[in-house]
Symmetry: C2
Subunit: 300 residues, 2 copies
Amino acid sequence: MKVVIALGGNALGKTPEEQLKLVKKTVIPIVDLIEEGNEVILAHGNGPQVGMINKGMQAVNMPFPECGAMSQGYIGYHLQNAIKNELMDRGINKNVVTLITQVEVDKDDPGFADPSKPIGEFMSKEQADKLAKENGYQMVEDSGRGYRRVVPSPKPVDIAEKDVVNQLVNNDNIVITVGGGGIPVIKNAGYHGVPAVIDKDFASAKLAELVNADALCILTAVDHVAIRFGKPDQEDLKEVSVARMKRLAKENHFAKGSMLPKVEASIAFVEATDKVAIIASLEHAKEALAFKTGTIIKKQ
Amino acid sequence: MKVVIALGGNALGKTPEEQLKLVKKTVIPIVDLIEEGNEVILAHGNGPQVGMINKGMQAVNMPFPECGAMSQGYIGYHLQNAIKNELMDRGINKNVVTLITQVEVDKDDPGFADPSKPIGEFMSKEQADKLAKENGYQMVEDSGRGYRRVVPSPKPVDIAEKDVVNQLVNNDNIVITVGGGGIPVIKNAGYHGVPAVIDKDFASAKLAELVNADALCILTAVDHVAIRFGKPDQEDLKEVSVARMKRLAKENHFAKGSMLPKVEASIAFVEATDKVAIIASLEHAKEALAFKTGTIIKKQ
């Protein structure tokens, strides 16, 4: 089975030291999938990492797309190193590689009119006003904890390097791509980086569509998507049609910025391809791909 | 002609803003080579960039191999973006991609016994002593300007991702790889990052050998390697045998840390392959590959 795995930020560490240690464990279920014969394409989040990089590189005014590129190098290196080592340890001879990946967004995406994704540190109103004036940043008051920069979160429409991803996947290599949702670019006489955050689940869904994957598998901290979570009548969703999933989303069953984008990305992939999307835990990824656990979203 | 181009740090900018602007010009002679039908594999330095990243990420103790991975993402993104845009502008349909690349070094390399490559900022003796004690860093007094951390500069022996590079090159893609000489790793039940700097010219020579390139082309700020530079009897070297180049190197004609590694890397490639190495300026890369300018190093 050709499968795009979207790895959540929770599977990576908060500090470089923690991450280097944690990825060694994180990759085990992924290498299990590879060992079983699946063609794995790996995408991953970068929230805490790109925040850390953005903060560190503030003094040199590192633009946000470049911070994303740096996070792809940083996280990609750890993942590719750990997967390759685990493969070698099991005597499996396969190449693993990270591609620096630009993801195209539409310059007319409504997201650009309404920047809402907070990035970087909290600061005082004075600091925020200064950055807004000097750098043209959009700043908002965030949860009573201070001011933060916000950037747009447009939807992915294409992947600049999709041909290379396809070549490598069809040639039996393990590819790590669209890290952090990809470096957001708009196309206008060439590709141009824009300060934005593409949701990594949407980027993974677009990737899965473009590589003609059999399944999109979004890994998270829980085994199933649930509705009425924590209530006596909580329901763990097992196999769900797109129609029901859309209805549940509309009824606000899923947390914005957490489970909702996973559900919406799954719906987008299934609707575009008639294939299957799975939301499951990293620990049970193998069982989920055998349809034994996880939430499985299908057309019908 | 299949050619590995080693791009010097001088072709990139000092700040992110400057680099983004400068790469647009830098890639023009490289795209000229692609347009002429050459198969181009691009390597590049990262001295100023990794220094900047290392400084910015000091507060989170980002290890040095990870800083290198970040610089590969940062510089690779700029180069791949600019090359692709220039190709599209000329109506050439080719993929351009940056690979996060680990370069293997020998754990018994004599370089490890004698760390000599300064990285990062100058500091006081007190600060240096503190870092030496707390992090085990090796610190040295550098040119009367203060103390700096030094890391080893071992020779490259292999490239972990060489198979993927070969696949992509043979499939007519433009590949950017071994950025900054590659992320240095030693092989010991898997690959493990080590704090070190692999000279980008040596990494490029190893790359050229491993992809079976017809030529290694090291680009620098001057049109020729010269001996007795600035003296009345200055000689610009045109076509030189390996034997003469070795003799000249032995006679200390080439500046350590500047022209010498370019000359030594060229010698290593020509001796290993019987192919040709060229040292030339970025501006005249096209003429150099037609053997009309530059210093051309051949077996005989």
